[in-house]
Symmetry: C2
Subunit: 394 residues, 2 copies
Amino acid sequence: MSADDDRLARVALTWLAEPGTWAVHRLVDEFGPGATLDLLRDGGAPEEGLRAAVAARSREGDARAVADDALARGDRLGARLVTPDDEEWPPQLHHLRTLALPGAVRRVDTETAPPLCFWVRGAWPLREALDRAVSVVGARAATAYGLHVATELGYGLADRDWTVVSGGAFGIDAAAHRGALNAGGLTVAVLACGIDRPYPMGNASLFDRIAEAGLLISEWMPGAEPFRPRFLIRNRVIAAATRGTVLVEAAARSGATQTFNRAVALGRRPMVVPGPVTSAMSVGTHELLREQPSARLVTGVPHVLEEVGSIGADLAPPARAPQRPRDMLDDEATLVLESIPRRGTVDVDRLAARAGVTVRTALRKLSLLEELGMIRRRDGGYALTAPARVPGTT
Amino acid sequence: MSADDDRLARVALTWLAEPGTWAVHRLVDEFGPGATLDLLRDGGAPEEGLRAAVAARSREGDARAVADDALARGDRLGARLVTPDDEEWPPQLHHLRTLALPGAVRRVDTETAPPLCFWVRGAWPLREALDRAVSVVGARAATAYGLHVATELGYGLADRDWTVVSGGAFGIDAAAHRGALNAGGLTVAVLACGIDRPYPMGNASLFDRIAEAGLLISEWMPGAEPFRPRFLIRNRVIAAATRGTVLVEAAARSGATQTFNRAVALGRRPMVVPGPVTSAMSVGTHELLREQPSARLVTGVPHVLEEVGSIGADLAPPARAPQRPRDMLDDEATLVLESIPRRGTVDVDRLAARAGVTVRTALRKLSLLEELGMIRRRDGGYALTAPARVPGTT
C-alpha cells in the first residue's frame, strides 16, 4: 500500500471514529492504516460501540471518498496533513501511548490514544515549533487579573524563545496566544474542529494571526464541528506536546483542570498560578494546589522556566526585596541600631543593655553607624539621624 | 523563698535581660527565679553578653525595686501577672523548650526560651483563652485584599469559637483582631511592650476593645518600649500559643515569615493565604508556598479548621460548583446530550456515531433526556430544547 493510501486511510479513520480511540490505534499499530480502514468498513471493529459508530458514519458516505474530499479541501486552504511517518511529526506525542488515566470513567476520558494525523496551517515545521513548548490554559470566563497574567506569561515565554501552546478559546487561551504574538514569538493553537472553521468565531482574527506567525493544528478534518467531547479529546495533545502546562484561573468545575491532569499523568510539569481567594475564578486553581501533590505554584515566567528549562539554565532566584543600606550591617550593628529610641538620645551603657551586647561592642558598632550617617552624637548620647523611624512589628 | 518573692524575681529578670534568653531560662530551671536573680546581680551570668547587659541595667537601678514598682503599677492598671506556677499558665508554651532553630544566627533568632511571666489585661483566664487558638499574622502595609481576607478569617474563626491571636500591629494583625471582635468572639493581642502603652498608638481604641472583650498580654513590664528586636522575640509566643499560624500577605522581606517559621519549628500548622501574583504584598506568601514544604495553602475558615480542628470535625469539602441538572446524568447520557448540534436536528444513527455509543444506548439515553426536558423530537430527529448552548472549550 502506498504512502498516499496510508495518509488517505488515516484521514478516513478520524472520520469513522473520533481521534484518540484506543481500539483504532491498536489496529493501526498492528495492521497499518489501510488494512484497519478496510477492517472497520467491513464491520470488523472489535468493540460494539466502535462498530456502531462506524456503521452510522458509513451510512452517511464512503470514508475514502470523504477523506479524498477533505484532502482536496485542505489543499485549497493551504493546509497540509502531517502524519507520524513525516519528519515533522513531534516525537513527544508518542508518550500518549503510555497514557492510562486511573479512575477515568467517561469514554472521552479513557480514549487517549496518540493522534493519527494533524491538519496544519502555518509555515513552521510542527516538530520544530513544539520542540521547546509550554502550554498556558485556563478559564474562558477569565477575570481581568487572569487575562493580564496569561498575557504576561505568553509574552515572557515567547520572548525567551519558548513556543506558547493553547486551545484558542476565549479568555486565558486567547490572552496567552496574544501575548506570544505581541512578543513576535511562536504560538500554536490546538483546535477541536476543522482548521477552516476555527472555534470560537469571535477569535477569527486571532486565528488568522496565529496561522501567519505560528501554527493552527487539528486532528479533525476541514469542516469538522466543535462538539464538546472533542475539546476533551483534544486536551491530551496540549498536554503531551509541551514540557509543562500552566493553569491560569479555573472555576471549581473547570475543564481546564482536565488538561492539567493529563499533563500530570504524562509526567509533564503541572504548574498553577494562584489568585485572590476572593475570586471564583481561582477556586479551581487553589484546589489543585491543595489536592494535587505534584502541582507547582508559579507566579511568573522565571518560575515556569525553572520547571521546564534545561538543567542548570534559568533558575529563578528566590524573591528578594532590593538591597537597603541596613542590609550591609552585621547582626550586632543591626541590634544596636534597632535599640536606639525613635526620639531623644540614649547613652552607651543603656544601649548595650537593650541590644544585649557588651559596652565595647556597642561602642564599636556605634562608630560604624555614625560613619554610615545613620546615627549621630547629641547631648552626650546617641540619636537617630532620620527624624522618625517606625519599628517593625513582627 | 515565698511565692511572692518568686514573682518579683521573675519580673526583675525580664528587666535585667530580654525575655527568651536561654541562659536565664536554664538558671531559673535549675535554681529558681530568686537565686538566679541574686546570681545575675552578683555578676555571675555565664555569658559575657548577658553579664554586660545585667551590669548596664544594674547601673540604672535596683532590679528588685524596679520590679516592685512595676507590680504596683500593674495593680493600678488593673493588670495581673501570670507565671508558670499559676493555674492559668498555658501549658503549650512549654513547647518552646524544644525550639532550636537551625540556621539562626542573630541573637534575637536564637533566644527563644519560654516566657518567665506575662502581664495580662482582660478578664479571661489566659489558659482558657488560648485553649483553641489560631494566629493570623501578616504585613503592616497590607492591601485592601489582605485586610478583607484577614477580617473574614478573624470573624469566621471567632464565630466558630476559636480565639484569634495576633500582634496588634497595623494592617493584617489589626484586621484579624477586628474581625474577631465584630463576631463577638475572643481575641488576644500579644504585645512587645508594656500593656499600658500598647504599640502602635494608632490602634489605641482597638487595644481598649481587646482588653474589654479579650486579652492584652506582654512579657515586658508596664512602661516597656517597643524596640524592634522585641517584636521578633515576641513572635515565638504567637506561634507557640496557637495550634496554627495563618499568614495573610507578606512582602518578599517580611518579619511575618519569622512567626511562620517559628510555627513550623514548633510543629504548629503553618498556613498561607495566596493572593494575586501581581501584588508585591503576596510575594512573600507565594515564596513560602514554594519553598516551605509544610506550608499549607488555605483560602478561608473551612481550610483553617481542617488543619487545626479536632480529627473528624469540620473537614472542608473540596470546592464544588452547585449541582446542575446535567450533573445527574450518567456518562453516556452526557455524551449523547453533548453530541446534539446547537442548531437543527440530528438523527439517532448519526448521534450514536458522534457520541461513540450504540444506537440502542443512544435511544435509551434520548428518551431519558426527553423525559428531563433537555431535548425534544423535531422533524424526524432530535434537537436541544434550549435555543443555544455554547460548547465547552477545554
